[in-house]
């Protein structure tokens, strides 16, 4: 995707072109959906959350200063929504079947012994999402932005407002932590 295309769409949206908003949603919906899905794990919550994020983006576009930075701004908005939703769900015991924020106790993953590959793949994906959802907020966000969203270290540093070196060191820790959580399944 070319950044100036996005900037052009944002400018068109500011000028009242609603179709530009639909195009922006189409450009980013898969990425934001994947982010929310991995963050809160639950599909329905992720759908609701994704819609919330785009509605907020539409309504608070006036706060975006540089049209070319729409992507980073949207990710910041998305992460704020994800954090708030995650906290609320956690407070209500939504994740009570997971060992949340407890890196010393890996989540017990069920052994996928089904002969059907599709089932196995889905099962594995759910296990990976569970493991990610149970990570600490910073580790989870860095890992998702890098390994799921494929953003550069510079972009992650700008979105999370942390130094570049910290992004790299925390990313390695996050990857190692996820490896531990998935060990039983991967070995």
């Amino acid at each position: 995707m070319i950044e100036h295309d996005v900037a052009g769409l944002v400018r068109a949206l500011r000028e009242g072109n609603d179709e530009a908003f639909s195009r922006l949603v189409r450009i980013y919906q898969a990425r934001i959906w994947n982010l929310t899905r991995a963050y809160v794990k639950d599909e329905e919550e992720a759908k609701d959350l994704t819609q919330d994020i785009f509605v907020t983006a539409y309504r608070s576009l006036g706060h975006l200063r540089d049209d070319a930075k729409f992507g980073g701004w949207l990710y910041q908005l998305a992460l704020n929504h994800c954090r708030n939703r995650y906290k609320r769900l956690k407070r209500r015991g939504f994740f009570s079947n997971l060992s949340l924020d407890d890196p010393d106790h890996p989540i017990p993953l069920s052994q996928g012994d089904s002969p059907e590959r599709q089932y196995e793949r889905r099962n594995t994906a759910e296990a990976v999402r569970s493991a990610i959802a149970a990570m600490s907020a910073t580790e989870k966000e860095i890992l998702l932005l890098r390994d799921l969203q494929e953003l550069s270290y510079e972009e992650i540093s700008a979105i999370l407002e942390i130094p570049l070196g910290t992004v790299k060191s925390k990313l390695n820790r996050a990857r190692l932590a996820l490896k531990e959580r998935l060990r039983k399944r991967l070995e």
């Binding site: 639909s22 949603v25 189409r26 919906q29 898969a30 959906w33 994947n34 899905r37 991995a38 329905e44 759908k47 609701d48 994704t50 819609q51 785009f54 509605v55 539409y58 309504r59 609320r88 769900l89 407070r91 209500r92 939504f94 793949r121 594995t124 994906a125 990976v128 999402r129 990610i132 890992l143 390994d147 799921l148 494929e150 790299k168 990313l171 390695n172 990857r175 190692l176 996820l178 490896k179 998935l182 060990r183 991967l186 070995e187």
Partner: protein
Amino acid sequence: MQDCTTHQSRFTAYLDRELPPLERDRLEAHLAACPACAREWRLFTLTLDQVAALRHDQPPSDLLPGIRARLARPTLWQRLRDLVRHPDFSLSLPAATATVVAAMAVGLFLKMGLQPQLPHQPAPSVPGPVAAHRPAPIAVADSGLAAMSHQDGAFFSHARAAHPPMAPELAPLHPDIFITVRATSPHDLSLLHDALAERQLAARPTGPHGLVLHLDPLDLPLLREALGDREAVVFPPESVIPGYPHPKKPLTVAIRLR
């Protein structure tokens, strides 16, 4: 001699080809000589593959229409502003009248020192549209204190039972927020209940036209979302404005469809 942990702390830099040549050679030599670290490296790359596989997950097809539908609805703030500008007395007056009459009845009981009516004996001044379905009598409280309760869609007074503890469904309610929603179809109550449930807001019916829920003030935006574009009157109106300093939590919200 570097230990295994040090080598593993460089996995990401190695993957990104950011290690200086000397360190890269050391790590590669270690991975060739140490089966444990070689296994960890394999698991490390497998983990990244598993995360990358999540990228193929496609969003639901109705995401954009859902966003459009939400944007088409006026925000609660806009609805409140409209209500202030164009008050709809046809909807709020009956609720206000019923509340005032009920409050007067309670005041009269307290002033005269009379035992309040039991739930199966409706207070004369308060109409009870579904009085026949009211629960069995509750033991009269020794304190004689009256409390307002919302049962079967009508407000009435009854005793605060001390012994034994009152059943949850009969416990007195003291709503902090009253919301009267204009009903447009017979399914409105269940639709509203579902909309609340979708947002993890557990509401329980108080009759054919009422719901009650307890929620954190921070969750008021969720309640606003659940109300959607329904026409509603909120009392006190300022209670749902973001930043309003609620004195307690959780809040009890009584919703009534009319």
